[in-house]
Symmetry: C2
Subunit: 340 residues, 2 copies
Amino acid sequence: MLDDRKLDVLKAIVTDYVSSKEPVGSKSLVERHGLRVSPATVRNDMAVLEEEGYIVQPHTSAGRIPTDKGYRLFVDRLATVKPLSPAERRAISTFLAGAIDLDDVMGRTVRLLAQVTSQVAIVQYPAAPAAQIRHVELVGLTTDRALVVLITSSGTVEQRTLELPHVSDDQIAQLRALLNSHLIGIAPSAAADRLAALAADLDLALRPIGTPVIAVLLDMLASDASDRVVVGGVPNLARFGDQFETTVRPVLEALEENVVLLRLLGEAASSVDGAVTVRIGHENPYETLQATSLVASSYGTVSDGRATLGIVGPTRMDYPSTMASVRAVARYVGRFLAEG
Amino acid sequence: MLDDRKLDVLKAIVTDYVSSKEPVGSKSLVERHGLRVSPATVRNDMAVLEEEGYIVQPHTSAGRIPTDKGYRLFVDRLATVKPLSPAERRAISTFLAGAIDLDDVMGRTVRLLAQVTSQVAIVQYPAAPAAQIRHVELVGLTTDRALVVLITSSGTVEQRTLELPHVSDDQIAQLRALLNSHLIGIAPSAAADRLAALAADLDLALRPIGTPVIAVLLDMLASDASDRVVVGGVPNLARFGDQFETTVRPVLEALEENVVLLRLLGEAASSVDGAVTVRIGHENPYETLQATSLVASSYGTVSDGRATLGIVGPTRMDYPSTMASVRAVARYVGRFLAEG
DNA sequence: ACCTGGCACTCACATCGTGCGAGTGCCAGC
DNA sequence: GCTGGCACTCGCACGATGTGAGTGCCAGGT
């Protein structure tokens, strides 16, 4: 079937097409790579590769371009990891220095990833499911509104405002103390039961405000930080101004839909720890994204928070470099989250 | 100079050009509007309008298109406010129902604004400068890291993590109590002095952790919630797939730079309360955005939080509708923030 | 003084043919 | 099984042409 030379030819086609973005013919292929055979031989090989579905010609008498299947083979068997440039190494090893808080870390990460890959970057907030509750704060804002803040040991701070009837500062203080005494040190998973019990035998005076506050807290506990996603590098799409309808628009639309992004990242990350996952063209679950590829990796650890990050770009993409960058960034962010 | 008919002609040109996006000629102008004169007369008027700089021809023997100056005159003197459609009214009056917290309000607002205007929407977080500090929370995360949370009476919650040497829970509790006793009820503007004094005569045991915490708090007080901005409706740029370089790319780039967005909104909003500001083409402070217009309005009140929202689109835009939508959304959000 | 119809003129743009060149498939020969 | 040669295919860039929308100007009418 596919002997070594044919694989070399495929590799050369992918490499050339990615850098030139034009169909590649037999002659230039032999010239640009050190293939020690004639163009005619390469043509025969290409005919076989085409028959097997790894490459196609856009029209008769044009060069060949890789199919999704061709890219897949390239990524799986042919790509040699391209080492990062010194500049990239430096950028990656310093971009998180001085980060202020988690938002800042996420923001810096997405910017870096977009910069080194020149693609659109997506980073999911890390989820630290085993965290303990560290503090519940309850603050009266106006006479009939209050703010609930939930702080966990992993540094997550979540807030909600809600309406309360007849709030007195005393009652708020009482409720705050009560909540904290019952919740501090508890894992969120266990907190739901605890809160339900608390709601049941609540002091009658506290009940009017306690009930809605507990409802909000339950809701906050049920929600997950990892359904937050940041996106960056959208201007990188400008390079594809030509194929607007096929490439740019679907990506723009997907980027506004967090649900879509999360599903994309979720499916991509369901693989081995720290490995880089590549989804090429039609392998994507969304029809509109079939002209694009996704390169993703999970990062972090379960205890420090774990999530996925990656980039979206055209199927014609420099996979070796991109995969190296994504892996490097994922590792670095994971290490940073662990060390603090 | 410009008699009524010439103004009518300008108005007709703007209207037609906005809807057709093609240069408009004298004949079709007379046909589509009820101008009771001949094309030749209109041509003479157009010659005058061109001489005065309100319209130009893209090339000889083509129709005319409005200049920025022409749009400006149109917006200032000719545009009649277009009433919102029932569907828009309905959307605007219900889109905030069930909002969970401020993030949610901002998110819903930006989506709504993008939807009703079919442009890219920008919403700035409201700033309530006169707020009091309601609570300072200090939480140890690991042995050498802590989380500082600052809560104000306007419902702002800001967080930072920082590294601390040798943290004991006792010291943290002590410092937390100390900070709260000095800061609760104080306006942020006065808090800086108070903190400086506190840092000066800090108990010796607390000093190693107190000093960095106070430094972080000072930094948090100096920062302003209103430097946060949310953006939505980016896929609406897809309609301008043609003029990528002139319109789409600069906007995409500006959207990634919060600083740019804030300056844009800031300059736009420096006007009267609740009035809709329009910046057309070259009136924008950024050269790359000279093919785009900004329609913005401030919203909210000083006490409840005040900021700016708006949309960015091509200079060829339906100003009456857009201005009506922006104004309606700004008013509604303002009212919502006031009522809670 | 102002409007109007007529007329010659100007270009952008679409259409069509043409030639070129990159690339192919196939075949005979080494 | 590789290679050089050769005829063939087509996309595309290029130049010529015609068409039509739109203009400016002018002379005549109200």
